[in-house]
């Protein structure tokens, strides 16, 4: 099984980098959860080491570096869209006529790596008017609450943003 226990096959520099990033991340997380009292580290240190080990074990084979600038641009974009998603649902739920025209739409993904695709699928469910209902052979089935909404262009825009987050460019996606 080449996919499992993939960290063993990494070059040592990449492995060391990944190890240090995870150790730092889980240490900060422990501080957040348990506070700064050093006595907590009696439990904290083994937990951090175990978490780092598990995280490396399940790390994807190909490194997927996140661009910091891309992340800074992605967060406001995402917060803005999910806010309008909430407003959209609120309007439809509270309106006496309950305006909606639901249907299924397919979208062909061009993002190459699994972590990027997972992020895209999860973000679609928080966009205005769309939830991702299935993913099979690079094709996302999207349920839209209103078929008159520009679903394809919204998802395509999101896909380009996700690609920018990982510092890559995508050609383009088909409906």
């Amino acid at each position: 099984m080449p996919g499992k226990f993939s960290c063993i096959s990494f070059p040592s520099t990449i492995l060391l980098g990944r190890l240090l990033v995870r150790l730092l991340l889980f240490s900060v997380l422990w501080c957040v959860l348990a506070g700064l009292d050093w006595q907590n580290w009696i439990i904290g240190l083994p937990t951090i080491l175990a978490a780092t080990f598990c995280s490396l074990l399940f790390a994807p084979q190909q490194p997927c570096p996140v661009s910091f600038l891309g992340l800074l641009r992605f967060i406001p974009f995402f917060v803005n869209l999910s806010f309008w998603g909430g407003c959209d649902v609120m309007r439809r739920a509270l309106s006496p006529a309950m305006p909606m025209n639901p249907g299924l739409v397919r979208y062909q993904v061009s993002l190459p790596e699994v972590p990027q695709q997972v992020l895209l699928i999860n973000c679609i469910s928080l966009l205005p008017g769309t939830i991702s209902a299935d993913f099979h052979e690079q094709c996302i089935t999207i349920h839209t609450i209103d078929r008159d909404m520009p679903v394809w262009s919204t998802v395509h825009h999101l896909e380009r943003r996700v690609a920018a987050l990982f510092g890559i460019r995508v050609a383009g996606g088909r409906p």
């Binding site: 997380l29 501080c31 957040v32 959860l33 506070g35 917060v79 999910s82 806010f83 998603g85 909430g86 407003c87 959209d88 649902v89 609120m90 439809r92 739920a93 509270l94 309950m98 909606m100 025209n101 639901p102 249907g103 299924l104 699928i121 999860n122 973000c123 469910s125 928080l126 205005p128 008017g129 939830i131 991702s132 209902a133 299935d134 993913f135 089935t141 349920h143 609450i145």
Partner: protein, 100 residues
């Protein structure tokens, strides 16, 4: 501090209608897919405002970080479970409700 406290209260009050409309949507919407729309989106925005409000009222930095962490985990959990519920429904051949 009173200013931040009041601002936090306003944020929490903004968040509550989103939770309420998510629940109203859950009760009113016609099928499983549209109900998922109501739950994931409205509740996430509602929780976002409540977390923001509580973070503004928090007295320690790690309370703020813990609240943000809760929000992030709920975001991930709700969008992933939304996808899984919708996928299970599609694979059981449950047809989406349509206007016509």
């Amino acid at each position: 501090m009173a200013f931040l406290h009041n601002l936090g209260t306003i944020c929490i009050l903004i968040g509550i209608p989103f939770f309420v409309s998510g629940t109203i949507g859950l009760l009113r919407f016609p099928d499983i897919y549209t109900r998922l729309h109501a739950l994931t989106k409205a509740d996430n925005v509602g929780l976002g405002f409540v977390v923001l409000g509580l973070a503004l009222q928090a007295e320690q930095w790690n309370t703020v970080a813990r609240l943000l962490l809760i929000w992030l985990l709920v975001l991930v959990a709700s969008s992933a479970s939304c996808h899984l519920v919708a996928r299970a429904a599609l694979r059981k051949k449950i047809q989406p409700w349509s206007r016509s």
